[in-house]
């Protein structure tokens, strides 16, 4: 049987000798792909369990591409391409690519720094420059922020690293500040007590740190009061709206003058300048 098969599929010895390195190279690449996938899965599992999820995302990609690149180099070596010449070519290519892909590489490095610095994690509410939203993902080149208007904003990692980032999810409680202007005829201390009591009536306002009402500024036609209350982060938006509404209602009910912004203007005869 064996003799029959050999006689039927008879390949020239030279061809077999020629094909063997190519077959080995192909096997190396296939093994490389399998290994890269296994490694990236392992890295995801390891970093996902012990670190931030964005580190797992980037680690997975890095592990995959580094393993695949190395297997390609070994495969090229199998078919007789000198490793030293490949590395030399890679060096030249790296320089060329570095110039061409300066921004991309900068973004990748910035992404790594962002993982180390951890100014936020996926799911945090952040403000980056003028973009306010929830961090939806952190990639090799860019991060995605989903705004509250449900728009997906892509921010390059380099820009993110250079920007001022405000993280609204880092701490458990937030302070609500409500600014009120009252007339000079208002009994300030009495109104401060009224506002403090009103804030304590709101179920979201924390008893401690206790709400405070401070005189902020003495304006041209009004006294500015600033009412400060602390709430749990999740209650902030609703509490701010409720407190602003209730505060105006209560002040109007109490007969407090809420002067509108005033501008004094007049017409004068050019011949007679104003005194």
């Amino acid at each position: 049987m064996h003799t029959t098969l050999t006689s039927q599929i008879s390949l020239p010895d030279g061809l077999i000798t020629t094909m063997t390195p190519y077959a080995k190279a192909l096997l190396t690449i296939i093994a490389g792909i399998v290994l890269a996938r296994a490694l990236s899965r392992g890295v995801t599992r390891l970093l996902g369990a012990h670190g931030p999820s964005q580190a797992a995302l980037i680690g997975e990609k890095l592990a995959f591409w580094i393993t695949l690149t190395l297997s390609l180099i070994f495969a090229l070596n199998q078919i007789g391409v000198e490793l030293s010449s490949v590395l030399a070519a890679a060096g030249i290519a790296t320089v060329a690519i570095s110039f061409a892909a300066q921004t991309s590489i900068s973004n990748v490095i910035s992404g790594i720094f962002l993982i180390i610095d951890r100014p936020f994690v996926i799911g945090d509410t952040v403000k980056v420059d003028q973009t306010l939203g929830t961090v939806a993902g952190l990639g090799l080149l860019s991060s995605k922020i989903r705004t509250f208007e449900n728009l997906m904003v892509r921010v390059p990692n380099e820009a993110l690293l250079k920007s001022t980032i405000t993280n609204y999810s880092a701490l458990a409680i937030r302070r609500v500040d409500v600014l009120v202007r009252v007339g000079y005829d208002t009994p300030i201390e009495e109104i401060q007590n009224t506002i403090s009591a009103l804030m304590l009536e709101h179920p979201a306002v924390l008893d401690e740190p206790e709400p405070r009402v401070l005189t902020d500024a003495l304006g041209e036609a009004s006294v500015s009061l600033i009412a400060r209350a602390w709430v749990v982060r999740e209650d902030y938006v609703q509490a701010r709206s409720d407190l602003s509404t209730e505060l105006v209602k209560r002040l109007i009910e109490s007969g407090v003058t809420l002067p509108p912004p005033l501008r004094f203007s007049g017409l004068y005869d050019r011949a007679e300048p104003p005194a």
Partner: protein, 262 residues
């Protein structure tokens, strides 16, 4: 440091007291409405194991096991730590001690189950008007439930069905200056609840040792008060576990400029 000695009641002792809690209500009886400590409880068992529960005005549709027959009510301290503000504040001279009683409002926890099926917690009713406070600095504090309560050497007798736990607070000032206790933070599971058929619920003794302006040690005694039996968990488990002493060392003023000590 004094060690906490636990007193395990003998089964015969437990049999002497007829406990008020848990309160078991047949699900079928909910249709007419039943008066509970914080309001009316109503409900209707719908086909397919669904219970439409009206818990003090709040309607909730709960998926329950078809073999469930009973709504079980038990008092608990709730899911968050308690921050107890005493009225009046307690001032203690150096080397002296204070012993007061305070009443701490409790949550009402509802579970559904029956003789042949385990009870599962399905809802928790907070005391009416429950508020929250932060214990600690604004960047690292713990959200607690505020409890405003009167402190006295001896408080009046309560209705045994009232959902408050009477707690004995013992303050010892071992520092060299007079110190004031404006609040006491009681972590989750720090209190053991006991019940007495005619005197209500008790929460043992909390020992507070003032070490300095910024340091206090809290120890929770889990000794069974006279004539009491423990308030058991949803499936009859003991909840009066011992807890190691806690040391509170906060320097709020240094960090925030505000007075948020104990």
């Amino acid at each position: 440091m004094t060690s906490v000695v636990e007193h395990e009641p003998k089964p015969s002792e437990l049999d002497e007291v007829k406990p008020i809690w848990p309160r078991d209500l047949p699900l079928t009886a909910l249709a007419d409405g039943i008066e509970a400590p914080y309001g009316m409880l109503g409900g209707e068992l719908e086909p397919g194991g669904q219970l439409m529960l009206d818990a003090c005005g709040e309607e909730i549709l709960i998926g329950v096991q078809e073999s469930a027959t009973t709504l079980r009510l038990i008092p608990t301290t709730g899911p968050t730590p308690l921050l107890v503000f005493t009225q009046p504040r307690l001032r203690c001279a150096p080397g002296r001690s204070l012993n007061v009683e305070i009443d701490v409002s409790l949550h009402l926890t509802l579970g559904v189950g029956g003789p042949h099926v385990n009870y599962t917690t399905v809802h928790e009713i907070a005391p009416p008007g429950a508020r929250r406070s932060l214990y600690g600095p604004v960047d690292a504090g713990i959200i607690c439930r505020s409890v405003y309560t009167r402190a006295a050497t001896s408080l009046d007798i309560r209705d045994p069905g009232e959902l408050t736990a009477r707690l004995k607070l013992s303050v010892v000032n071992s520092s060299a200056v007079t110190l004031e206790v404006s609040k006491v933070m009681l972590p989750v599971d720090s209190l053991s609840l006991w019940q007495h058929p005619s005197s209500g619920i008790f929460a043992g003794t909390t020992h507070m040792k003032l070490l300095s302006v910024r340091e206090a040690e809290l120890r929770f005694s889990h000794e069974r008060p006279d004539g009491c039996v423990p308030v058991l968990g949803m499936n009859g488990e003991r909840t009066d576990n011992s807890r190691p002493p806690l040391l509170f060392t906060y320097a709020y003023k240094n960090k925030t400029g505000l007075e948020y000590g104990f």
